[in-house]
Symmetry: C3
Subunit: 343 residues, 3 copies
């Protein structure tokens, strides 16, 4: 077997329901595009026969893996895993194919949050089907069919069973705490979010899985699935990037460098660099926009989607005419050339 292009290998520890199905998996140190020798050693220790698979581990197989690994961190993790009574798994992804199991889905989400891959760089097909709905509690993951009795038992025992959510995706910070970030509240960032160094997610910020901020960024608005915000851009409080999962169109959005989307504003089109949308203004793809040059003269009227991806745009709603305008931002001439070229 060829291990030179292996996608990822990771040993994890997780939770199963009473029917022995995985609810979630935590991977402390996944190997992304692993060294071929290491991949071969780990795979062969488990009798791996190819493809993308998740293999449940026993005390014995954990020991075999510890015997063959050449990676110090893996050895450390395997030694710790050796003593655990929790369900353990090794997930081997020969290639970046559609997802076929819960452990695979969790591994791919980890790869994003651990910054091994950026949003939209990975095949996440089938992820919703592969992720079970889970009741997240202060006592771990619980299957929805088992929660009612667990709650009653905890109550009667005088214990506190706090349910934090019922969702397919857990909070990122319970799995990955990236370096150099601040996240005011963990419930606002799903596992699978990409937070580059220097990203601050304030209380009203939100980052979905397969979405992210390259950093540094101040995120007080919502970054929808598939959306990437580049360095130096700020999303104002409760600002919105239109998603494609529900309600939005088919354009995958992105926000370039050094943009500002004002508080309570939003965009339904991708933005280039140095763009600003004033507070409270929502630009949808079909908003008709008056494009003005540096002398505030009308260049043309276009639907916003025709401005998709351009840089140096300042969007406001003229408060005397009610018209949505796109004014040149700091670098007027460059912008206007682009806009005219676009005719």
């Amino acid at each position: 077997m060829d291990y030179s292009n292996f996608y990822a290998i990771a040993v994890g520890v997780g939770t199963k329901n009473s029917a022995d199905a995985w609810l979630e998996v935590f991977y402390p140190a996944p190997l992304f595009k692993p060294n071929a020798e290491e991949a071969k050693a780990l795979a062969e220790a488990l009798g791996y026969e190819g493809g993308n698979v998740a293999i449940d581990l026993t005390d014995a197989t954990v020991a075999s893996l510890a015997d063959v690994t050449m990676d110090e961190r893996q050895l450390e993790v395997l030694n710790l895993l050796a003593d655990s009574k929790r369900p353990r798994v090794m997930t081997l992804l020969a290639s970046d194919a559609p997802i076929t199991s819960t452990p695979e889905a969790y591994l791919k989400l980890h790869l994003l949050s651990l910054r091994h891959v950026r949003p939209n760089e990975q095949n996440l097909d089938n992820i919703f089907a592969a992720l079970p709905n889970v009741v997240w509690t202060n006592r771990g993951a619980i299957d929805p069919s088992e929660i009612v009795d667990r709650q009653l038992e905890a109550r009667l025992a005088g214990e506190s069973l706090e349910v934090t959510g019922v969702d397919k995706f857990p909070h990122m910070l319970n799995y990955v705490v990236p370096s150099g970030v601040r996240v005011a509240y963990s419930s606002r960032v799903r596992l699978g979010a990409y937070l580059g160094e220097g990203t601050t997610v304030m209380h009203e910020g939100f980052i979905n899985f397969n979405a992210g901020a390259i950093g540094p960024n101040m995120v007080e608005g919502r970054i929808s699935q598939g959306v990437i915000v580049d360095s130096g851009s700020d999303l104002g409080g409760a600002s919105s990037t239109m998603g494609t999962l529900s309600g939005g169109g088919e354009i995958v959005l992105s926000v370039g460098k050094d943009c500002l989307i004002g508080a309570n504003a939003g965009t339904g089109i991708p933005l280039g660099d140095r763009c600003t949308i004033e507070a409270g203004l929502y630009i949808t793809a079909s908003t008709r926009v008056q494009v003005l040059d540096e002398n505030r003269q009308l260049v043309k009227t276009v639907k916003a989607r025709e401005l998709a991806g351009q840089s140096d745009m300042l969007f406001i709603r003229n408060s005397e005419s009610g018209q949505v305008e796109c004014r040149t931002n700091t670098k007027a001439i460059q912008l206007n050339e682009k806009l005219h070229a676009h005719n």
Copy 2:
């Protein structure tokens, strides 16, 4: 006594403060409109004399109830309760009258979240007075007057006492986890919310008590007290349904089937079926709206409140004129007939 129209009976377990007053009650399996025989048996076992009352239970009375119940689930719950050291209560509501006690208030909130009744179908008069303000912590409910010392004691003991809120209403998921729903974060849904099968409440969604989504629905906006959202409708991120408790008018809002309220949009009027409000647009009752027919010709100008409850409306703010327009949605002619008929 006549038990044939009994409203509800439920046995619960809860928390009292140091003055022996109820802070909260959890009812694992309330009987709504119970079988008359079962009601009679339970009531008589406690010497019930009529009306809406909450009777504290002892080991002895729990045993008597277990002796007489004919309901398997009640028996199961009572057997579990028999061993508990926590305060136990049986709440008997002969009729749907104004609320007179904390256990009654909690029971009615359970009935909503357990889908026994829909929002606005129950008498909730006096609920704010009947619900004490509670400090919600990872160690249960605590009286506000007792929290400071509890926090200090926990600190000094090296224990963690996490306060999650100070509110009259708890998080629904700590009491009821309805089937077939997703709730990204528990703090956004109060006990007393109604979540039908297939409801997803995303991170920015919110559902108050006595408010709800019939399901299936994607809720990324806020459903205010008294508001019902019908099946197939989506509330975009941070969208708003205007409430009547504060700031709003007296019209109780509802959103019909298959509507879309865009991200950061809002409505101050009830909507019929298949209505859309574009992202970022807030329709208040007094917004003056240009009603356009299928040829985009002006039919008339009205205040939005005159369009309350109509179907097939698409609201946008014309980005060239600044005017708020109501265009016919998918079923133009039907709409226009209705609108004209309204003249």
Copy 3:
């Protein structure tokens, strides 16, 4: 030494990282502008030599403090602290100077939330540098560099380590639970927020440090750092007060008495008393506003910043012209006089 103008003294208990640096400090009962004799007694017991300092305490020094205090509550706290194994500290602030240490920063934040000082009354210079970034968990504060191993250890032991955030500021309610308030969810109010009696912070409300509501207030929107909302004013759901830390201008905002900022609305200018901004409208400092008199006649057109701080203003966007208008509110003539005088 002169103790007659001492700023604050407080004994606290907190958390240190493995390098013996403070992560956070809880002060159960700070003395603000303490009695000179009490200040002198406590300071001298620790050999205090002046300035603003934080002195780590030992069992012996805790005992010395208990010996000299003349304040009953301090004695109570010191007696409790005597038995604790947690790191203890006494922070002495001779004056309200820029912040030089973590314990100082935490003390000043406590003074705000305990209502000893109002926002903008205290020198908070250097606070960001003095506050370490902390991983907040259900097992207390953890240094970001130590979290990965802690998470793995907890997992393997089958324990639950829930990360609630990574931030320089903790949730206020874990330190201070002010009397007479409701806070639907603790993550939305930072330590250092000022919540006057009668303040309700709903699920979508947010109050930053050094910001606050005088009370009574209904807060369903965001109060940015430095902003004060006066009594009787309501912030509608997801409404915004523009901050000065990022994205906003240099005007420090305030909202006067009995104002209403509608849902999804916002302000970039300070408002006087009895002002209303309609739902969905964002007033920025540079919004051009048509000022109308009580007969709806145009008085003048101004940038909103020229209306900063005025009372009795009603802001709407005319839904027929798209123009932003400032109409006289309830007290028309008074307003118009002010506005005319402003010419």
